[in-house]
């Protein structure tokens, strides 16, 4: 694949399950990693401006899954499931929310 001449380069995603144990585990890792910064900005988790290596989650026994999303594929995220990632080259995504009764 020649990424240099291709629009529709894949995206790498890292995701943590949305159950309370794992979501809280992720929050704990985030808070300890960002402890100094969080004193000035306690809402930092909601700013969506932070990235760190998923290995930190693994080290704290928080399960983290990695996928590579290609063109024509969609990714669903569940309530409270932390996710983040980056692009490997030029691409266009389109995203929206939905909600179920539960």
């Amino acid at each position: 694949m020649n990424l240099a001449s291709y629009t529709g380069a894949p995206k790498v995603w890292y995701g943590v399950p949305g159950n309370s144990k794992d979501a809280e585990g992720m929050e704990k890792v985030f808070k300890s990693f960002m402890s100094t910064k969080m004193r000035d900005a306690p809402e930092l988790l909601y700013h969506i401006t932070t990235m760190f290596n998923p290995r930190l989650l693994q080290a704290a026994d928080v399960p983290v899954y990695r996928i590579i999303q290609h063109p024509g594929e969609f990714v669903l995220t569940f309530p409270r499931a932390f996710h983040g990632g980056f692009s490997l080259g030029p691409n266009i995504g389109e995203a929206v929310n939905f909600a179920t009764h539960e």
């Binding site: 990424l3 240099a4 001449s5 629009t7 529709g8 380069a9 894949p10 995206k11 790498v12 949305g18 979501a23 992720m26 985030f30 990693f33 960002m34 910064k37 900005a41 930092l44 988790l45 909601y46 700013h47 969506i48 401006t49 932070t50 990235m51 760190f52 290596n53 590579i68 999303q69 063109p71 024509g72 594929e73 969609f74 990714v75 669903l76 995220t77 569940f78 309530p79 409270r80 499931a81 932390f82 996710h83 983040g84 990632g85 980056f86 692009s87 490997l88 080259g89 030029p90 691409n91 266009i92 995504g93 389109e94 995203a95 929206v96 929310n97 939905f98 909600a99 179920t100 009764h101």
Partner: protein, 214 residues
């Protein structure tokens, strides 16, 4: 069969605002400043330049292959070492009601503000792969908030990014940082084929001529 998915009928002339991400400082959680404004075509040019530049600087004179695994390693190297500064402009949260959705609109009232075509309304569900399929499937991001099981269908006004899709223009290393969805929502994230328009027209012409010859 997938030709219709390539047909990104977006406004290529309007400009959107990008955010400038400082990758080498993204572990610090600092706010993103504004990047340049781009039209879709200019952003695609920018993002192609970025990837070519990365290749020229880091791969061209080596035996390394520029594959996803190596780019992922490069990404964490930039983030975790402070030896190099890397800036990237990310076109996030771009309104589909201004630039257009990459999906065709429902004619059976399945998305907010869609017109109902009385002639089509009572037809059976369109076959997979037809243009009508992509208009009407609830896997179309314009429709999914309004599917039977979604409580967002009761929200009758459009809220950008919630029940009206947003577009995301990415480039090498452009980052969507860790987050959960607001209000414990699910999210649906589609990755477009994203062909540039002239290529697209070519494909449409080939497709149309094949179609007519059959």
């Amino acid at each position: 069969m997938f030709t219709y998915l390539l047909a990104l009928k977006m406004d290529m002339n309007k400009q959107f605002q990008t955010k400038e991400q400082l990758l080498h400082r993204i572990q610090e959680g600092i706010s993103f400043g504004d990047g340049d404004e781009y039209t879709i075509s200019d952003y695609l040019k920018y993002s192609h330049e970025q990837v070519k530049h990365w290749y020229a600087e880091n791969y061209a004179r080596t035996n390394k292959v520029m594959n996803p695994q190596n780019i992922e390693k490069d990404y964490w190297d930039i983030i975790e070492s402070s030896d190099q500064e890397y800036y990237v402009e990310y076109g996030n949260d771009v309104d589909t009601h201004v630039f257009g959705s990459g999906f065709p609109k429902s004619e059976r009232g399945r998305c907010l503000g869609s017109e109902i075509d009385i002639d089509k309304f009572h037809l059976p569900e369109p076959l997979f792969g037809t243009e009508d399929y992509y208009k009407e499937t609830y896997w179309n991001p314009n429709n999914i908030p309004c599917c039977d099981e979604s409580i967002l269908r009761h929200v009758k006004v459009g809220i950008n990014g919630i029940n009206v899709p947003w577009l995301y223009f990415g480039s090498i290393f452009a980052t969507f940082c860790y987050h959960t969805e607001d209000n414990d929502f699910y999210s649906f994230n589609y990755h477009h084929y994203g062909m540039i328009q002239h290529t697209l027209h070519f494909i449409m012409i080939v497709f149309n001529s094949l179609h007519h010859n059959n």
